[in-house]
Amino acid sequence: MLKDKLSANFMKKDYFIFLISMLLTISALAQETIVKGSVLDGTTGEPIPDVTITIEGTEIVTKTDAKGEFQFDAILPLGEQVLKVEQIGFETKRYPIVINEGKTVDITGMTLNFDSSDKKDLFIISISDDNLNSEDDGLTDNVSGLLQASRDVFLNAAAFDFSATFFRPRGLDNANGRVLINGVEMNKQFNGRPQWANWGGLNDVQRNQEFTMGTAANDYTFGDLAGTNNIMMRASKYRRGGRVSYASANRSYQGRVMASYSSGLLEGGWSYSVLGSRRFGEEGYIEGTLYDANSFFVAVEKKINEKHSLNFTGIYAFNRRGRSTPITEEVFNLKGRQYNPLWGIQNGEQRNARMREIDEPILMLNHYWDISSKLKLNTNIAYQFGEIFNTRIDFNGTRLIESDGQDTFVGGARNPSPVYWQNLPSFYLQGQNQSTYDFQQAFASQQKFVNDGQLDWNKFYTANQINGYSVYALQGDVTRDQQLTVNSILDAELADNIRLNANISYRRLNSENFARIEDLFGGSGFLDVDAFFQDTRQSGNINAAQSNIRTPNRIAGEGDKYRYHYDINSDVISSFAQAQFKYNKNDYYVGANASRTTYQRDGFFENGYFPNEPGIIGSFGESEQIDFTNFGVKGGLTYKITGKHLIDVNGSYFTKAPGIRTSFANPRQNNLIVRDLESEVIQSVDASYIFRSPIVKARLTGYYSNFTDGSSVNFFFSEAGAGLLQENMTNISRQNIGAEFGLEAQVTPTIKLKAAGSFGQFTFTNNPNVSYSTDEYYELTFGDGTSALENLRVSSGPERALQLGFEYRDPDFWNFGVTTNFFSHAYVNPSALRRSGFFPQDPDSYDLDQIIRNDDDRFINISGFGVADYDENVAREILQQERFEDYMLVNVIGGKSWKIDDYFVGFFATINNVFNQEYRTGGFEQSRRTDYLSQIEEGNNTGGPIFGNRYFYGFGTTYYLNVYVRF
């Protein structure tokens, strides 16, 4: 306690010290105008390296060195200025100074206090949560991870308070942001998104982050619309010290332990940093969502001499997680928002059928070369390897019966999911005229679902045991990647006010994909055929059922690959250059990039539906190589009206190669490439007005982004296409337009008021092309092959969000804050199939199987089977895009810290959604029965729709508590 008071006094003395320094500078006889000084830890007195010192209202920035010292080299503005001193993990401070020509201002001994709020942990929670649950559908991605390093008021609100609800700043998703670790891009080639779990649980060693908003000038890469976040994980960049913490929560995990220690710069130029953490939980807020994650980190750096430094960073983050799934309103009404149909009890333990396991260590070697004080070259080699897999129940195990020289496959069961449509009351209440018997059945199924409603694991074992083969098995869909990245990043100061950044990079990815038997459930083996399709003799292809014609009727055991097996190989070469110019009134930058991307599939199974025969796009061996050449330009200007008022404008035009995911029409089964696949073209402009005074910080931004030639994929079961479809959408045009603001007022030294808001509109601006593929055909299209999405909203969370909040920060090292957050204008993700040429068809008036059978090339178009009395008005009503209800979430945050001897002890806690508001964060329209007539029926059912929209429901009241010791 005494020490606390001392340090508080010390803080008060800061002004005194700086006055003394001022006097000293006046008396100094110096030719040059110099501002220099040093920064110390306010509590320990240790120098803090890598602190960013900015002269406010200018772009003049420097950083402290290992001894915590800094000096400005640039031409300095004279007169009264404000120095802003900031470092991640510390509270930012602002010092007023006076710069006189030819004088030196020496402010040695400025102090920064450690930021005990520890907010960052929370970002990581929401990230892990959403992304690990993600169905790769783009709905559940969250960019909050990207934004955590930002000091912008609005982005802070977005990252911290808006992230619980799929809110996306400017309607952008993860694939629009870049995440770098030590300058190496971590976004996956598969879908363009970073896999946050690859470095989850490393919070303590990820405090050094540099965030660049949007496409603004960035030292490492061209960037992207949602911004770029470079996480510095160099051993020498960590301050000396350790930290041990324990967190308890009830959102995704229940507990987390974390311990880290960093050496700081040691004698001989060595430094190192280590971290170990574990996150665990039997279940999170959603039932059955087991959490099991271990993370390890090590970095070692050797400063070879003044010019060279070599760093090694190794990250191993293993993550295993039970997933949940969006549910229909019917299920929600019966079971509530915590319900998860994916688990059941086995031997008294919860077991989730859909586990996701991520196990992809990263190793990197970084070389830093200060060629001169103005020229720096950073070269990196990174290697990432390992696998991601998702499990699910394979319920189509069969056995072979040879009779009269013919192979037949019997067995196969029905989807065992408790929310399978035939298990729910609505199934019995189809149509409008129900008998007593129907109501009895509906009631019985409701009782059964309410009282049980979970997976029956014993059934799987019994079935396999009494039948002597595996009817059920646990399938793992595995992606095993090996990725090598090499890049060099140049930073050159061409003149005092001109800086050049450049990057050249090569990335090679080998991605092996296959299904694997994870568990036979006591069965003896799994017959590797596709039992869904029985009409093989009709099509004249007796091998169709075979996953691999080359090993027919193979029995797969546990750990064996089955169903599909292929590689995707990808090469990306990219380069980037950027020049930044800084002047008194204007700063501006221009940048450009160019890249070439290639993809090729290499199949190892010759699929029975797609044999390597002439005239057929085969499945075995290499596909055509796809390549994309991309380029981009960007530029921006900051105009300083005064030091307080700034105008900032950024613009960019660039193209992006589609991800691997959207490039192949049905990669599990064949080599077909999505037709008319193009690089996405992105044009964007934003303009901001920024106001800064010692009390008020504010930003108001308007933005407009336009995307054309986009592509996406989707998977679902539909009666429209006779099975599980891959939906390939191309030529997607959309636009995001809106405004956002952030306002922060330090009304007293202890009380800060905050306001942030975003108002956007994210719409499709054309009717994209949609086609479907399955094992029975390459491509199925309806009508003119487009989907009428124009003017519908792109589902990207609430388009409108508003936050009002305050923070109280007591000098006695405790703090407390409340935010109130309003959300509105969130829309359901529209089904493209429902708005395609399929919708007005009458599916009963044609026999799809027959058409498929009679078609030679298996490129099929369905049109001309229109519904007889199609009513435009009825159709319009059916196709109305659902808008979710508005809602309000209140979050509370607080913490306190103490210093005991050399240790800092503290805690930090939040309560989210204090009033336990029920709300939908997102959702999508099901595409199973989606034609006009079926939709009318769905709307008229006594028991409500059978295939209604599925929703993600937000969490109720949850808490997070973190206790730590730092030394």
Partner: protein, 492 residues
Amino acid sequence: MNKLTFRSAVFAILCSILIGVSSCVQDDEFDAPNSEIADPVFEEGTIFTNITAVAGLLSQEQDDDDNIFDPQPLDYSNENTVFTYGFNENDIFLEAYVISSDEGGNFFEEIILQDDFENPSIGIKLLIDVNPLFVRYDVGRKIFVKLNGLSVGITNGVLTLGQGAGNEVDKISPADEFEVIRRSSEKEDIVPLPLQISEFTENKTNLFVQLQDVQFNRNQAGQLSYAADAADQFDGERILESCSESSSLILSTSTFADFSSAILASGRGTVNGTLTRNFEGEQFIIAVNTLENVQLDSPDRCDPIELSCGLAASAGSNNLFSDDFETQSTGSLISGNGWTNYIEAGTEGWEAYTQFGTNASQGISARVGSFQSNDASSIAWLITPQIDLDANSGVTFQFETSNSFSDGSTLEVLFSKDWDGTVAGIASATWGVVSDAYVTEDDDFFGAWFESGIVDLSCETGQIYLAFKYVGSGDSDSDGTYELDFVSIDAQ
């Protein structure tokens, strides 16, 4: 930082890793649960019953006078009466053995049960809205069905157990599955009951029977699939013929069966399956669980001898034999003009008739039909005089047929070279099929007459007789009538 602090740091890291490791969650390894099937435990006072007793209660319910001293046999045509077990009694459990399996997709949401695993006497169909069932109820499994609240009745012509819906029996809700069905640990090999087609009776339905020495009809075997041909709507119906008696039946397969697209076996042998009635409840059919039940391995088929010279372009001008039946007297059996008219079984023979209107005769025509004759078996022959194929060249044969809902009955055109011309010798003679002659089929319009085509006999030699043979199905209610006219045999 001093060394002491550093050490404590390392210590703290180790500690927390230890804590971390000890904070275990359920791992990937799950022990297989005990999937052994334990015998159910019944409450005290539970009554056990069998299918015969269940059927008895239904027949009593069907019986109008309710006289328990005069029990009537079960009326399989009464689909409007159900017997429902009350709830407020002791538990009543039916003991029975599973004989059907939906593993092959040929049964759907039903389990066929019989009263014993060998020498069964009666079976019952249990309707339940659960799919698949084979994952829990394997063939040969003894199960107990709790009857309280369930209803028994006749649906689709067979004895059925399920949930009552009005005066019908419908499926049991999946929610009630475990309440209603209990599995015993007992599992037996079902011994199929050998049965001749002629021995089929309604009370043998829902039994797992064995048809010995059978084959698919020669026009279907090796050609059609089980149920995946264009004409197959819900079920594929294929003709299974007996080699040991002159009879056939339908093997019915769902178009949803896993083996629906397999081609019918071409050999001869044994078929095991559930004897049941078709959807309309009109006809006996057999349904197999999987193709393991079809063992037609012997290549020696028992097809009839065929006379097949194709069709001739025109008939010769030298008439050897003809009859337009105009000289016959209506209402009487066909006679004279060299005809041999023989009733091999039953009471119905070929007779002359006239009729007007939609289903008109052609003047006086000949007809035969056993509909509602109550004959256990109906077989009637009409045989021409002997024709000398050696003395005549280019012999052709023509006639016209029509039908009136022929349904289960058949009309065949046969020939014999060794018949001695006596009625007594018909049975012992060798009869082959004149396969090129078109005989009207059941789905032809009943009002129309169909020409046989100019059937060429010239590739055969010697002395032959031609015969029209009518065979009823054995169930006269599902038989119909064939009409015949303008029989003519000509030579060059």
